[in-house]
């Protein structure tokens, strides 16, 4: 189930240097490598209907600010921070829309269960929420999450295990161990 497109920081550094010199294909490669993570970070915070558009926004902002990136190998953590800030701006600008979950009896929405689980994940503390979305929605594995977000592997492990425990309690109240 897990698909992994491992991006080594040294590869990122090379691509960042090329993108900064005007190579749009190089920036396109950076987008391909990190779009999934950025989408996960946004999906943990903003309505699903807006997350995809905001991914584009985040990368356009990143392109405009590429010269301010000091460590070329740290593109992942840097663009992750831009995504978190973009989510904060989203609510600051009042673009708050309700997420619709189809609960019509007898007419289950194909994404109904997904939205139910996502709503439960979003009710968790933000650190657990983001890591769980990256793992369960985006299919990234633990080391990949650590490498791309800049979190330590230990933090990712803790976030995943504690987050899963809380998620179990949310989804099956009274049944959690």
């Amino acid at each position: 189930m897990t698909t992994s497109l491992q991006a080594l920081p040294s590869d990122d550094a090379r691509l960042v240097a090329a993108a900064r010199a005007g190579d749009r294909d190089a920036f396109g490669r950076l987008y391909e490598r990190h779009a999934r993570m950025v989408h996960g970070i946004l999906l943990a915070r903003v309505p699903r209907s807006d997350a995809a558009d905001l991914v584009q926004d985040v990368f356009l902002v990143a392109l405009g600010r590429l010269r301010s990136l000091r460590d070329d190998g740290a593109f992942g953590p840097w663009v992750a921070m831009i995504a978190r800030n973009r989510a904060v701006d989203y609510y600051r600008r009042g673009r708050k829309s309700e997420e619709l979950v189809d609960n019509v009896p007898g007419a289950p929405h194909p994404e109904g269960e997904a939205m139910t689980v996502l709503v439960a994940i979003r009710s968790l503390p933000v650190a657990y929420r983001e890591t769980l979305v990256l793992r369960l929605v985006e299919g990234m594995n633990g080391p990949e999450i650590a490498e791309k977000t800049g979190l330590t592997p230990a933090s990712v492990r803790v976030n995943l295990h504690r987050g899963m425990k809380l998620l179990r309690e949310k989804l099956s109240p009274g049944a959690a161990a």
Partner: protein, 77 residues
Amino acid sequence: MSDYLWDGRGEPDPEVERLERALLPLRHQPKRLELSEVEPRRALRPFGGVLVTLAAAAGFGVAVAGPLLFARPGWEV
């Protein structure tokens, strides 16, 4: 078994597997990045180039005309 949650390797964790399958419709759908909307910094300051050209022209003008305007005549009448 991974120190992290089950990640597709080793013996499956049915709960993680079920959640992952349920959440699959929400996964990022790769989409081409449209870069044409933003043309780096130059696009944000469309008059920047014109201003630089005008400033250069003004500087050149002062350099050429200045000595003529402020030079004292070199002869006595």
